[in-house]
Symmetry: D2
Subunit: 218 residues, 4 copies
């Protein structure tokens, strides 16, 4: 069973973000996956204390900075195959709650310095952003690049968005959200056939540096 | 055989961008792939005429706007399994040559309105950006979101970058570039086991719109 | 007297962000201004509840959503001539604390629907971002566009940044931070000679729409 | 007389970008300024050769890389008080023509290494972006941060945008475009009362570095 977590960064339980998130959830289900939705506004997620800038070893999962709900929610991502970040667009970016959550995910990514791999390495993610005004693409490109930087695979057509107050009126948005759900599951099924960690850290650096010289000599 | 095209947007044949591109090329080869490098500065790529904003049907591949080198280069992407966009960072973004090339790729993506699919649907891509000053992440996030919007799969750890004048001095950059090469091939091999187009356009819209109501009723 | 508030989004009292912020503060003082530094981590700033998406009239200053420290801190901006946002770069963006603060500033900007003007209209701002890795420009461009969207004037050379762990080693960053401080004051002194609100909302729309036709007829 | 150049990056002479540009032009005129529109598609602007990355002294104005139309157009900016960049949104960014133009403006900014100041230092700019789909804010934030990095002053409310095919239907966009025109002139009139170059490069670095220690000692 493919397990996908929807991380919802909206304060409105039945708002536009949540509507598109549910369409994506149906996409997940229709592709054979199982969905769990997490509403970040229902949890206490404190801001990141930036321990990693003091000492890279001080940042690890479970995040030791606070005894709040972050580790509980983040554990759901670790136990999943993938996730969908769904957010209203607040000033051309994810909501502050989701930003705090993303900042804290450093504790998962930074495990590369503790166990040799990001705890999100090879997960699959999709993205939904909703904003009546402009800025959805700014928010989406932000979430995509950050997740990829943590080792996440981004399937084709991984984003859905709308400027409509009622996203169900926006046929393209509805179709895109559904495809986000489908493709997160499809990509997960493919990724499972791969083996091991995606980031290969142990190639001799002399070998890598020699590449350029070798190729010049050709 | 996995075929990967490196699209190089630098005017300097042996500059920093080209160095990292060659490390990525070695990653491709070590994973069993074959590389072809295309240097955009060696071709004439005119600016997009924006035909699609006049009539969505006027934009298709091969791009009818000019008789320049775009179609020749773009055909290489179509015939490949994936590609790596490598660029110097000019004012926090890909070089203007690469931007013109990206703009013209609309003719591949827009085939969704002619043959039902983007000609880049399911391709795999990686990204390299080099800039002595800041702005590499702006350039990378830009390229990633655009390619995903054309239907491209982004593997884990798909980006490499450096601020160093000599990127070979930047061990992290060298390792990352190599992993970009490896992972583009690894993801291609997995993606090949999938079937068909990633974007599913033909789901009845009434079904999709009913999702929200159904779920509320639960 | 020109009053400039430095809004510091770093958890580290003597970290890299704070160092550059102090250099900027000296620039403010050398230009004849007075600085007050606000450390957001010392206050409780809850996440925005997005009231504005329910009803544009529900969002106003002082923000009625919570009885936390936001209004106290935001009042300092209102009482100032300008401000400098200084932040560590957490995943290519301002820290989550600062993002929450920015989201809540909607209550100042949205006063345009209550009193006809954004409470930040005509304020002057500068920006500092510090990150050992890449992403400072992503963070800076984000803060700049959001502040301008709230009606803030951005002086020439309004940004400073570094990738160095110790920013004082980065001569360009130190010079830039000092100039941010100078120019926020210089621009304030000029802006004071202007009169009234910068956004003129009451021009007859028919007049504006006729412009295009008129010009075509020429 | 305040002279404002509108740099139009659209291929369509009477398209949506041009319509909003004309509304902004009227704003300029109503504030007492004079407008000249430059259509980049009417000129030959070759891609930047990145000379600056070989040797910072090799890049200066007039740009020696080509004998194309760049220097002619750029001279108009130098002779102006300010300018408005107006562009269609091609893949969430300015059109490739405008990107090439921006890349080449390095030759103006880089005069800091030849004559001690950017040739755009203290100019005033506004921005217009038009795209039927999303991405206008990505394009705008990009243009704003780049221009500020070249020393340009950004007045309050300096951006206008629309997602509408016919921007004249979008009342907010029309009002915003008009205000862009007004405010570029208003800010110019204020900026003229200032004196000298905005970037002050010659402060002793020891003084700047001592700031942090001094402040700690307080």
């Amino acid at each position: 069973m493919v397990k996908i977590v929807i991380v919802n960064g909206s304060p409105h339980e039945n708002g536009a973000t949540s509507k598109l998130a549910r369409v994506a959830a149906r996409g997940v289900e229709d592709a054979g996956g199982k969905v769990e939705e997490v509403r970040l506004y229902s949890y206490r997620i404190n801001p990141c204390m930036g321990c990693v800038s003091e000492d890279v070893k001080k940042c690890y999962f479970p995040c030791p900075a606070y005894n709040d709900d972050f580790n509980y929610v983040a554990k759901k991502l670790i136990d999943s195959d993938g996730f969908i970040l769904a957010t209203p667009v607040y000033w051309y970016a994810p909501s502050g709650v989701l930003k705090n959550f993303i900042d804290r995910l450093t504790s998962l990514e930074n495990m590369i310095f503790h166990v040799g791999r990001s705890l999100l390495d090879g997960k699959v993610a999709g993205f939904i952003a909703v904003g009546a005004d402009s800025g959805v693409m700014t928010a989406l490109s932000y979430m995509v690049i950050v997740m990829n930087s943590m080792g996440v695979l981004i399937p084709p057509w991984a984003i859905a968005y709308t400027h409509s107050v009622d996203p169900l009126e926006d046929e393209q948005a509805v179709r895109d959200a559904y495809n986000v759900g489908l493709n997160v599951v499809r990509a997960t099924l493919l990724a499972r056939r791969g083996s091991g960690v995606w980031y290969k850290p142990d190639v001799p650096i002399d070998y890598l540096r020699s590449v350029y010289i070798t190729q010049q000599a050709r």
